[in-house]
């Protein structure tokens, strides 16, 4: 798949994109969520 032989490397390639998408979706959903020695 994608010209890559090893399924483990294909998985890593897609997980990079997937994890970045999670970060983007998280940012969009949580954009305005806020939480005296």
């Amino acid at each position: 798949m994608l010209g890559i032989e090893d399924p483990g490397v294909v998985l890593a390639y897609f997980l990079c994109i997937f994890c970045t998408l999670i970060c983007l979706i998280w940012g969009a959903v949580k954009w305005n969520v806020d939480d005296e020695s």
Partner: protein
């Protein structure tokens, strides 16, 4: 060197100077100098975190490693995005920021010290940072000075001196604001440079699938020595349990992937923002940055084999005459258009400056704030910034001296010691700080004695493993060879042949210290905590924000 290159570099330095000056003008207190007044913009925070994390060694060193090991390094990018950004900001960031605010902590050692009510923890953490981060800084500084020296045809020592003075100016004067403003600019340049590198590479090689397929078709060309180590081609993982597999999985993927969580110069970033909202906003920015910078370096590093095979009839490591760190610069020189070399030069200089500035800053706060002021009880109102500025300057002098003397006295041997600096610091921080840090944020049961025992056992054990067992580190550090006449205690001579000690697929000489030291430190922390005096409930309630 063209006139355009000079103009662009001068313009770049002017902008850096302006941002450093802006940091200086808005720094009025110790909180400003160490935490940016706890009100840093999420874009600045995320880019600063990413640019600090990713140094030239991540692009050139690990990109070159991808030229040798192949695209399996993408698992490190997965770890960097998921653990280094998502888990770090969401899970660690929120709690660290809130606890730091409740305890009025300004540094990572101060946070741990106040959480466990121990000046020893604060002081010892600061000592570990101050002793070992110069080695990590020297690794980055030496690489940057060599690159500048070759790019601008100037003497190595001149490059080292000028580069250090420029960084020193904006770190000493501008504090964390100067560091983070310049980091944000440098991170943005890195993002553009690496995106352009990926697009040009894929276009030149006929598209994504065609490029990968060309690399897959080269599996038979793997050098014999690498094949013997378990290498199965540049689009495959190495054979399970083989030396290549252990280096790739235990040192590169796990060592760096997990080690990032306990980096003091990164953990302090969580405390620079105003609220959890900023951390949430930083996650997508950091995720995209890490994917584009590290992911591109590893994909392009692996694909450089296709380029060198087509142009020189050799694979990357052979074309680079065995020098892993020469693969990416050689590829850029021979495969990229001329205009790109200027952009990439700025990318590499930015990567080095952003990492170094944070290393110098954390060195200064460790010495000035955690050791001189707090641990030794010499706290004086208003003197914090001056003491830390002086300490930053001392830290810079030590790093520069180390880079100068290592090159001068030890030549190639020194270079191999410095090259291990990044891995040594990441491994040590994970073993020494991670169990205590996790315990501080989540557990009411981890005691002061447990935290101290875990920190000391993690530090000593990881250092022992680096000096005497892990072959890559122990052969660079030379002490094992001096004392025992072998480069690792896990390697024995039998009938004149080297035999590596192992249990099943575990070959001890290839195992990263983190894989052994971290579980050990966790065990010691928990065990000692079970039998020692508990922390007062009212203090825990204050730390955790519970009633």
């Amino acid at each position: 060197m063209s006139i355009w290159m000079i103009i662009i570099v001068v313009a770049y330095l002017c902008v850096i100077g302006y941002l450093g000056f802006r940091g200086f003008k808005t720094t009025k207190s110790a909180t400003d100098y160490m935490l940016g007044g706890r009100s840093v913009h999420p874009y600045v925070m995320a880019m600063s975190y990413g640019a600090t994390f990713i140094s030239t060694s991540a692009i050139v060193g690990f990109g070159g490693a991808a030229g040798v090991f192949g695209m399996g390094l993408l698992w490190l990018t997965v770890m960097n995005i998921f653990v280094g950004i998502f888990i770090a900001f969401w899970v660690f960031g929120g709690r660290t920021r809130k606890m730091g605010l409740r305890l009025d902590a300004h540094t990572f050692p101060e946070l741990l010290g106040r959480r466990f009510q121990s000046r020893f923890i604060q002081g010892a953490s600061a000592v570990i940072i101050f002793l070992f981060i110069p080695l990590y800084a020297s690794a980055v500084l030496t690489g940057a000075a060599k690159y500048i020296s070759s790019q601008f045809s100037v003497d190595y020592n001149v490059a080292l001196f000028v580069f250090s003075v420029i960084i020193a100016l904006y770190v000493v004067m501008g504090g964390i604001k100067g560091v983070m403003y310049t980091d944000a600019l440098q991170g943005t340049i890195m993002l553009f440079g690496m995106t352009a590198l990926l697009i040009i590479t894929y276009v030149k090689m006929g598209g994504v699938t065609a490029a990968h397929q060309s690399l897959t078709d080269m599996a038979a060309l793997v050098p014999e020595k690498l094949q013997a180590g378990g290498h199965q081609g540049w689009t495959s993982m190495p054979k399970f349990g083989a030396p290549s597999w252990w280096v790739l999985v235990s040192t590169i993927i796990m060592g760096v992937g997990i080690g990032v969580l306990a980096q003091p110069q990164l953990a302090v970033r969580y405390m620079t923002v105003k609220s959890g909202k900023e951390l949430n906003r930083a996650i997508p920015i950091g995720g995209v940055f890490i994917m584009m910078v590290t992911g591109v370096a590893y994909v392009v590093g692996a694909l450089s084999n296709v380029h060198f095979q087509q142009t020189l009839g050799k694979v990357s490591i052979v074309a680079a005459k065995g020098d892993v760190e020469a693969i990416i610069p050689m590829y850029l020189q021979s495969a990229m258009p001329e205009w790109f070399s200027v952009l990439f030069m700025l990318t590499l200089i930015s990567a080095a400056m952003s990492t170094l500035s944070s290393q110098f800053h954390v060195m200064g706060t460790s010495l000035g704030r955690d050791l001189a002021e707090e641990s030794m009880g010499r706290k004086n109102k208003g003197g914090g910034v001056l003491a830390t500025r002086g300490a930053v300057f001392v830290g810079i002098l030590i790093s520069v001296y180390l880079s100068y003397i290592i090159e001068l006295k030890f030549g190639k041997t020194g270079t191999s010691i410095v090259a291990r600096g990044t891995a040594i610091f990441f491994g040590l921080c994970a073993c020494a700080f991670l169990p205590m840090y996790v315990g501080a944020l989540w557990s009411r049961g981890i005691t002061k004695a447990g935290a101290i025992a875990g920190m000391l056992s993690g530090s000593f054990f990881s250092l022992f493993w680096m000096v005497f067992i892990q072959e890559k580190a122990s052969s660079a550090l030379l002490l094992c060879n001096k004392l025992f006449g072998t480069r690792s205690l896990a390697i024995h001579m039998v009938d004149g042949k080297e035999v590596f000690s192992s249990i099943g697929p575990i070959v001890w000489a290839y195992v990263d210290p983190l894989m052994i030291g971290l579980p050990l430190a966790v065990g010691v922390t928990v065990l000692v905590s079970l039998f020692t005096k508990k922390t007062a409930p009212d203090h825990l309630n204050r730390c955790m924000g519970t009633k």
